[in-house]
Symmetry: C3
Subunit: 444 residues, 3 copies
């Protein structure tokens, strides 16, 4: 290693990366800071983690710009499936754990009150300029275990609670990149405050309590191409007070209390995603979200087929809407909704499920959305994978079920609803909203 | 190389990577398996291929999770153009072959009946868990030559047949990644059975008989950002029995018997792609494909301008439809179709070409699609590149041609067709389908 | 380094990479050419730049295929913000410059008339085949300073003029890749002539006079996932005479005289982008652009909130249109427009701003576009970041303003306008265009 700004954690003389990668990386960062101490000539560095199991017992503190931390393998495997295999079968498994360039988060958040203390990587810097261009690429952060949360869950590994976070960015930052990473069994995958020009691209973030949380405020960022699915009690993508957010080309699978939840977000896009969820409230625009484009998304709601999780839900009933909007001047155009209904499990009983709900606000434009609502096929399975595939691939002709494709609440007015349901499928006050029904197919 | 899980093929003591990279990689995999032999502590490894020509005479067998195989160059160049340059001009060419980190597939599939025997990389593992997180990144797999297939093709290099496959995944797998790769002159680029959470992103897969085949069944995967074009007789993207597939942001060029062909696929998205083809049947939803969103795609059909391929087609006539749908409850929203027609070459002669065809099924929603149909400009060329560009860029005012923008066959009913053609352009039974015509522009 | 095709610039015996990286890379390229001198066996090479500051005093000349130049850090930080901080505060800044694997472009273009002489990387090769598969990945090209352009700008660092280009590709090429790069303070970021199957993906190109210019002609390429913003006087994305271009999933922020400007482009897609601009003329389809799909984009126009740039504009008035189209048979479907208006600053005074303008041509299809036009909130700021975020996040109920959502000029005819504005909001000759108004919301 003749150049000074390339570090391989397995070659660094301080600490033992397999025992505590946190100590090693912090020591490397300290070395960078000592060598790049002026205000000029601070190119940063790259820290390389070859594939290996790296226990992390000390939190990594990042307060320098232009640091890249890179592995050679996102290393995801399903810990959720493994932890729901009877223990006497574990000996027959090829492997028990995620892999790749893998950080094993051995922090103990139960000893602290601060959420950020449970983060493997903690990024913060005050003053100017904002910390810039920190990049995380192609390694795995594994929270290892969920824990008993007092809820009575028989298998504590299914709680999605452990107080651990993968990457926590506490201060305003610019042009960060998180790409090709794997996150698993963390209560929070990525938590970022006050983002600008952030890229979260092409990651695998699953079996985490929450996947991506963009807190505080932010602008001009993108969340793209990610494979994601949060726990039944958490956010898959959450953002608040954000302008110019582009959420696109993600494939989001269950569970997730919500797939995409926006609060006070404006002038942003949720387009061209594939979303699958087991509960209503898949996409929530709340707290006066405004001027958001929701288009070309495929949203599938069906029922949990996997036995260990079938007692779970997110507490919302079938009148909540798969897409719920409290806010003004949003455009909901050209989305496909697949609603798969178990008539006997409707909440409240006998309810007509709602697909798009305008809960409050005004001036929303809802056009050319197509809703397909069918009765569920029976069947559940022991294997999350085979049960889901079976449910997805049912291709016999399914019985159609009545739904409210658009419900406009009294607290939402001056909206325009076009070609998003027949006259019978839409519930609204036509004296305060504009409306054109989808033409009706002549009766068979 | 002080860390054990990083392998450079040029430094491995067993075999000669330039003579048989297969022997070298298999030896490395064997080393990994011996060192990581328990069920715990199996992070996998990365195998690095610096740019070079690596002959492969032994198939690589992958049966471990968390293996990354990485090069430094996708190395595509057009072998098709080169093999159609007269041999006496070859001496003047800067280079004859693809490059980068390049695997030269020197297998001889003619000696075997098994398709998978012709694969450079063969991935299979039985038992649990499914093999996970194998990653292929940024190298080239070159099938070298196509061969005489008995069809009478004068130049055997134009047959797209040689029995070779780049990557063949035979068993159910999870969270695989294929990114930044180059595939060229293979009969099958990527063939994967039973995929879950698969990423095929940002690759260059061209001049292959077939590019991507997702066989068996699968779920929750993405095929994104690829530059692709198959042979005249093959699939560019094929998937069967898949749920939750996201095919988006691809730029697919000719030839390809089809650009995207789905069979028994449900609840998936084909959105936001740019597709260009020389034959009808560009996008085919078959075998009861249901609840698929096809939106925001640009689909261009024009005529083969390159002399060596002008005698080829895919056997479909102009009544087949550029987009053909056999299935239920699909949403076809907001697509643009450019149909460029040679009136004298129409099949059957004098036919009115069909753009969107609902061949069978019911409940499809077709809205806001725009069709532009013009007469072709004459001209063909010796160079595939210049001929295509000339054809694409014709900007003089083109003569409009009559087409059927939507044909609803008798076997497809209960569909809704909105703003996707004028009354004259749509052929359907209005007693069993819903309809609203695009308003007519007043006559000039 | 036992393999010959991997080069680390810090280990190369010729030249000093920190003093003149151009001399070093040219020497390496010369070595590759000498070693790979036949027409067979030319895999190319990878040149690695670890994070560091590399001055470039000699232009890099690339004339070989299969060359990858790779760093470990895109290294963007805002030089624009820094250069507008009072100099007496600079000592308090954590860092003054961009970083990562950073090329400092120390060329002096003022001594030459040729634009290409100011390029850090110049790619050209005549003859056949076209130069292929050159890849640039994950490093930074920094033009360092803008200069006095005689315009009277008080701070020369705000002119966006310095004659420097990051990457300049002069001859026809195939399958190039530019990914994960950072470009800053260059008059031209990426300039490419005659592209085929080009990938410009996931880059950060900002504070450049112009970001991406695709000149000459080209086909079948993609510009995707980039974070970009040009200077007030330049192009963010420009393309001419291109067929089959896919511009998607980009997040484009101000300034940029235009966000996307196409000239003579055909059969291409501008879909699913998020665009934000301070001036009219955000997206321009000019010189007979035809058969282009513009869909699912979010386009926001508001007012410059940052004091140092508030005297700037692009010279276009509010009647020009946010989206302006001169050409035939384009499809404008399902876009959201947010127009934020300062009534006192309208040009011409008292004008009704135009959103979509069909300036010339015929046969365009404009459907399901939604326009939200509101009065601006007052306020500007010293910090570009906080001012922009404040402006973006104003969530109180904003006063609606009258706009022309679609203006069809007399020189554009035979167009179809559907559901893209009420009868009052659309200005067109209904005797030569087809029209259906968005239903009107009943008066409050």
């Amino acid at each position: 290693m003749t150049n000074k700004n390339y570090y391989d954690v397995t070659e660094w003389p301080v600490g033992n990366p397999y025992e505590d990668i946190g100590e090693v990386i912090n020591s490397i960062i300290n070395d960078i800071k000592q060598r790049q101490s002026g205000s000029d000539g601070k190119p940063g560095a790259v820290i390389y983690l070859p594939p290996a199991d790296y226990h992390l017992r000390t939190q990594v503190l990042i307060d320098i710009s232009f640091l890249k931390i890179q592995g050679s393998g996102h290393g995801f495997t399903s810990s959720s499936i493994r932890f729901n295999v009877p223990e006497n079968e574990w000996a027959n498994l090829h492997e028990l754990w995620p892999g790749g360039s893998r950080i094993l988060v051995d922090l103990d958040p139960s000893t602290t009150d601060e959420e950020s203390d449970g983060a493997a990587f903690y990024v913060a810097r005050e003053g100017n300029p904002r910390i810039s261009s920190v990049e995380f690429s192609n390694f795995n952060i594994d929270g290892l275990h969920f824990v008993d949360d007092g809820s009575g869950e028989k298998n504590p590994e299914n709680t999605y609670v452990n107080g651990k976070t993968g990457i926590y960015v506490a201060s305003a930052q610019d042009s960060f990149r998180i790409t090709e990473m794997g996150f698993v069994y963390l209560e929070h995958g990525v938590t970022i405050y006050n983002a600008d020009a952030l890229t979260i691209h092409d990651n695998f973030i699953a079996e985490c309590g929450n996947c991506i949380e963009l807190r505080g405020w932010g602008q001009a960022s993108k969340v793209t191409e990610n494979l994601m699915g949060a726990g039944f009690n958490g956010y898959t993508i959450f953002a608040e007070n954000f302008g110019g957010l582009l959420v696109t080309t993600n494939n989001i699978f269950p569970r997730g209390a919500s797939s995409i939840s926006l609060s006070g977000v404006t002038k942003s896009s949720v387009t061209n995603n594939r979303l699958h969820a087991f509960y209503p409230g898949m996409v929530i625009l709340d707290e006066n979200c405004s001027e958001i484009l929701v288009s070309s998304n495929h949203m599938l709601h069906d029922q949990e087929p996997w036995a260990p999780m079938q007692h779970r839900d997110n507490g919302l009933d079938d009148l909540y809407g798969l897409l719920s909007i409290s806010g003004n001047d949003n455009s909901i155009i050209g989305n496909h909704f697949s609603e798969t209904i178990d008539q006997e499990a409707l909440k409240p009983a006998g309810a007509t499920p709602v697909i798009i709900r305008l809960a409050a606000g005004h001036g929303n434009y809802v056009a050319n959305n197509n809703v397909v609502a069918t009765e569920i096929q029976s069947g559940s399975g022991d294997s999350a994978f085979s049960a889901q595939v079976d449910a997805l691939l049912a291709t016999e002709e399914l019985k159609k079920v009545a739904v409210t494709t658009v419900l406009v609440e009294k607290s939402s007015t001056q909206n325009t609803i076009l070609d998003s349901g027949t006259n019978e499928q839409i519930v609204m006050d036509k004296t305060v909203n504009a409306f054109r029904a989808t033409p009706v197919v002549p009766a068979k």
